[in-house]
């Protein structure tokens, strides 16, 4: 099944790092992603996330925007500057839904953008790049 191929490809990319200061989000996203077979790590803010990436670069990052110590955009810019920091697929996941924020995110180097609240289908589509239930075009 082509979905399974995409999921396998995502798994081959490596572990997924969830960066969010909300324990609820980390729990829910973690449950959903583990359900898809991904191995998941968590970080509460951008600073801890950066340290985790330096230790071992993840394949995918689910990134919140508003966090203490270091927010998502700061982290993202710093990540893209580090060695190998271009590799992870970064998905911004935030309650900020306006055009300015979306554009800022892509400018800073995000690959995808999810507006909270998310569900399993949205995570699957954005994290794995799988369009659920859609054909080649929209």
């Amino acid at each position: 099944m082509c979905d399974q191929l995409e999921i396998d490809a995502a798994k081959a990319r490596g572990r997924c790092l969830i960066v969010d200061d909300s324990p609820t989000v980390r729990r829910i996203a973690g449950r959903i992603l583990r359900g898809f077979g991904l191995e998941v790590d968590e970080a509460e803010d951008g600073q801890l996330a950066l340290e985790a990436c330096v230790r071992s670069m993840p394949g995918t990052i689910l990134l919140d925007w508003n966090m203490p110590v270091m927010d998502g955009i700061e982290f993202l810019r710093a990540l893209r500057e580090t060695d190998g920091g271009d590799a992870p697929r970064v998905v911004l996941c935030t309650t900020q839904t306006d055009v300015d924020h979306v554009q800022q995110a892509f400018d800073a180097g995000a690959d995808e953008y999810i507006m909270k609240p998310f569900d399993a289908a949205m995570l699957r589509e954005k994290v794995f790049g799988v369009a659920v239930g859609l054909g080649a075009g929209r």
């Binding site: 909300s22 055009v99 909270k116 589509e125 954005k126």
Partner: protein, 334 residues
């Protein structure tokens, strides 16, 4: 020849996008979507794709923001409008200075007239020149005549009335005409916003779906005017039964929805019970011999984190259906 064929198909795709997302076919919107389908502006395409894939809405605010972000001419136009607005604000203050002194200033009045009629069509450079001329004039004429004061007070009044009209229009777009509470669109937007916030906070978010029992009978027996009164009365009871941060909305013809942040299932059901009992007590219809109480059935459901929003609403609706099946005039939870 090839270029012509290409631009035709882009035009088709633009028209299709405008239709699909319910976007008014204004020149500005057309330009935006032409850029999107033309494929040269990657940042624009990325941003619009993010909005589409997140099932976002292309409302007036979003479309205006897209223009401001990606079209520098739009930024200029907005800057001009903002500047003109600020100047008019300043001129309002000059009125108070002018009305105190009371000397003659016909020339100032003419300069003001010129400014007002040409301000909105100007490029920023010319506008700055106009503003400088006007400021010089007003400095020269400071402490002026009744003529000026009257003219400017009239302008100030007109500006205030226009601002009020605009505020009312914006409010009206988010409200239900009959009951004055939030309309369906506002409910959908608020549902999304609150669910996003509650996902972050981990708090409970409750939902009540309230439906009038045998509403068609009420309309048939007592007339639509009475039916409307019942709707208005129920809206009033709902509003009085909730706190400031809760949202009461008209979901459909005779169906209402209530969003209750930081409220667990038990508390949500209690709010529902309150509403049911108050309505039953307060609404009696008919002649002295034949009194019928208007009642409601209510379904309750609390948001389950990560659940698709339509599923959550469906669970509350299903609970409402169970309440009807159970004989109506009751509350059921999902």
């Amino acid at each position: 020849m090839v270029a012509t064929i290409e631009s035709t198909s882009v035009a088709d795709r633009v028209a299709a996008s405008l239709r699909r997302h319910g976007i008014p076919p204004t020149p500005d919107n057309y330009a935006l979507w032409y850029e999107y389908h033309g494929g040269r502006n990657a940042s624009l395409k990325h941003t619009i794709d993010a909005i589409i894939s997140n099932h976002g809405e292309f409302d007036e605010n979003t479309l205006e923001d897209l223009h401001l972000c990606f079209f520098s001419l739009a930024r200029e136009k907005k800057a001009i409008r903002d500047t003109s607005a600020r100047v008019l604000e300043t001129l309002k203050e000059v009125v108070f200075v002018a009305s105190d002194a009371g000397a003659d200033a016909r020339q100032f009045g003419l300069a003001l007239n010129d400014f007002a009629s040409s301000a909105f069509g100007q490029r920023i450079v010319n506008l700055q020149q106009l503003i400088e001329e006007l400021v010089q004039e007003s400095q020269r004429m400071a402490g002026q005549s009744e003529y000026v004061s009257t003219r400017m007070r009239q302008s100030a009044d007109k500006i205030e009335r226009l601002e009020q009209n605009l505020e009312e229009a914006l409010r009206d777009a988010s409200l239900d005409g009959l009951t004055g509470i939030a309309n369906r669109r506002t409910f959908d937007q608020t549902l999304r916003r609150l669910a996003g916030e509650t996902m972050n906070s981990g708090d409970d978010l409750g939902l009540l779906m309230v439906d009038i029992d045998h509403f068609k009978l009420v309309n048939d027996q007592w007339g639509h005017q009475t039916g409307d009164l019942v709707l208005q009365h129920l809206a009033g009871i709902l509003q009085k039964s909730v706190r400031g941060e809760d949202l009461v909305a008209r979901y459909g013809g005779e169906e209402f929805a209530v969003l209750l942040p930081r409220t667990d299932l038990e508390a949500t059901v209690i709010v529902g019970e309150n509403v049911r009992q108050v309505l039953r007590r307060e609404l009696q219809q008919g002649s002295a011999n034949n009194t019928v109480a208007v009642t409601v059935s209510i379904g309750a459901a609390v948001y389950d984190f990560g659940e698709p929003l339509p599923e959550w609403v469906a669970r509350a609706d299903h609970a409402l259906y169970c309440a009807k099946q159970a004989g109506r005039d009751c509350v059921r939870s999902a």
